[in-house]
């Protein structure tokens, strides 16, 4: 069977993707990962891909983010287990945890309200709806740099809040 369109693009850009994976911290396993990447991408059922080169880079980037995540989760589990052994950890009773969740939700609302409609709206539109920043700028009738600044501010406020919960 002749290689599909995406496969051709993959083969043409394989070296480039290895270089990208290496720059993304894959080190010696970059060659193995690029193979994993192709297996994942080729079995995925998605519609026509507008820009296959960008698509492959994004998939490679995602692969590294997922690896980072599973590594840091494993570390957290390890730490929790150590604490258990030292008797530091205990499970909060359920009602208290529920109150905690409600308070968390209220504080998220408070942060969004403090940011104001435009900044919170821009954050949602870009981050949750996945709309391009340039399009969102048009929707809100502001410049692209305003959208960038609003996103930055909203992200920082929310990250700071997230940290306070931990």
């Amino acid at each position: 069977m002749p290689p599909s369109g995406l496969e051709l693009v993959y083969l043409e850009n394989r070296d480039r993707l290895v270089r990208f994976l290496r720059a993304r911290g894959a080190g010696d396993v970059a060659e193995d990962l690029v193979h994993d990447l192709w297996l994942t991408v080729s079995t995925r059922s998605e519609g026509p891909i507008a820009n296959p080169v960008a698509y492959l880079h994004r998939a490679a980037d995602r692969l590294m983010i997922d690896r980072y995540r599973s590594r840091s989760q494993a570390e957290k589990r390890e730490q929790a287990w150590e604490k258990d052994r030292e008797g530091e950890n205990f499970m909060m009773p359920t009602p208290e945890r529920e109150v905690g969740a409600r308070q968390e939700a209220e504080r998220v609302v408070a942060v969004l309200n403090a940011l104001g409609d435009r900044k919170a709206g821009i954050f949602r539109r870009v981050r949750i709806d996945g709309v391009a920043q340039r399009t969102v700028a048009e929707e809100f009738g502001v410049s692209l740099s305003t959208v960038e600044a609003d996103l930055r501010e909203a992200a920082r406020a929310l990250i700071t809040l997230k940290d306070a919960f931990q």
Binding site: F20, R58, R102, D129, E139, G141, R156, I159, D163
Partner: protein
């Protein structure tokens, strides 16, 4: 201080890495520039990973909050800015409204709509995505994230499959249960049309229980179901500007074209009931709707802003 670590109890917000995390999430991200940035310093990749995970955690927090029943209500008055973008993006207004708690106590469902001639893709909370053709309306309910009601137009569903929690779609008189992946739903006149590109859909799980696989479709008119075949690759082809019709009345074709193109097109009574089978390319039509004459075997008149399909004389 480690780039991965924490400084005291305050998470270190790495401004430069956060900017890259925001930038690279864009549909048209510049991967060359990103690679150059990464290669200039081997520590940058880990800083970026950390920034992405913080940013995604922050995003999840907002997404969860939008669907959390416990948040207190805060109704914000419409500002001039807001009015500006309601015109441009109804969906944005609606989604933001949910976040701010402007909803009815019981029914928190909301509508996502497109203007004629507009297409829009939306990611749902469960990771599924839907694409709306022009002039379409879909009702979503945060309480039931695995369901949607199509009220008008045409919608392509790409559903994240979960056998233990199937995705439900209500359209016309039909109820659909997703058995996996990609299908298109269209309301055209009194017809309801469902076509599957990938996976399978169960039509009317409580009624006749018709199972559609890839390349299969069904049309419902007045409670009657008619099965047909359609090239799986053509399902959702409207996104690439190809509109296909199967025994559709010209009045419905005209309505559909008006929605998809954003141009007012109507069928005169003399031809309204004629049927059409075939595929139309949107691109050529938008530039010159008069070519519809040859394609549909009718005369095309331009009256004021309206295009009228009529009998040839």
């Amino acid at each position: 201080m480690s780039a991965l670590g924490r400084a005291g109890t305050t998470e270190y917000v790495d401004a430069e890495a956060l900017d890259w995390a925001l930038r690279m999430a864009e549909p048209r991200a510049d991967w060359d520039a990103f690679l150059a940035w990464l290669e200039a310093d081997p520590g940058r990749s880990a800083r970026y990973d950390h920034a992405v995970s913080l940013l995604e955690a922050a995003t999840d927090m907002v997404r969860d909050q939008a669907f959390s029943p416990t948040v207190s209500n805060h109704t914000s008055s419409p500002s001039p800015v807001r009015r500006h973008w309601i015109g441009g993006a109804v969906a944005a207004a609606l989604i933001a409204a949910i976040g701010f708690g402007v909803w009815h106590e019981r029914d928190r469902s909301y509508m996502v709509a497109t203007a004629a001639g507009e297409q829009r893709a939306i990611r749902l909370a469960d990771g599924s995505s839907i694409a709306l053709a022009g002039g379409s309306r879909v009702r979503l309910d945060p309480v039931r994230p695995r369901s949607a009601s199509v009220l008008a137009g045409q919608v392509l569903f790409r559903v994240r499959h979960d056998a233990s929690d199937p995705f439900h779609v209500n359209v016309g008189d039909l109820e659909l249960t997703d058995l996996g992946t990609v299908f298109d739903v269209r309301l055209l006149g009194d017809q309801t049309h469902v076509a599957v590109a990938e996976g399978a859909v169960m039509v009317d799980p409580r009624g006749p229980k018709l199972r559609l696989g890839p390349g299969q479709s069904v049309t419902e008119v007045d409670g009657q179901l008619r099965r047909s075949q359609q090239d799986a690759a053509d399902v959702g082809a409207w996104r690439d500007g190809r509109l296909s019709y199967d025994d559709a009345a010209l009045r419905d074709v005209a309505d559909d074209l008006s929605r998809q193109l954003g141009l007012p097109i109507t069928a005169a009574p003399a031809v309204a009931g004629r049927t059409f089978n075939g595929t139309l390319e949107m691109r050529g039509l938008r530039d010159d709707p008069s070519v519809l004459g040859a394609l549909l075997g009718v005369e095309v008149r331009h009256e004021g802003s309206e295009w009228i399909l009529d009998e040839r004389r």
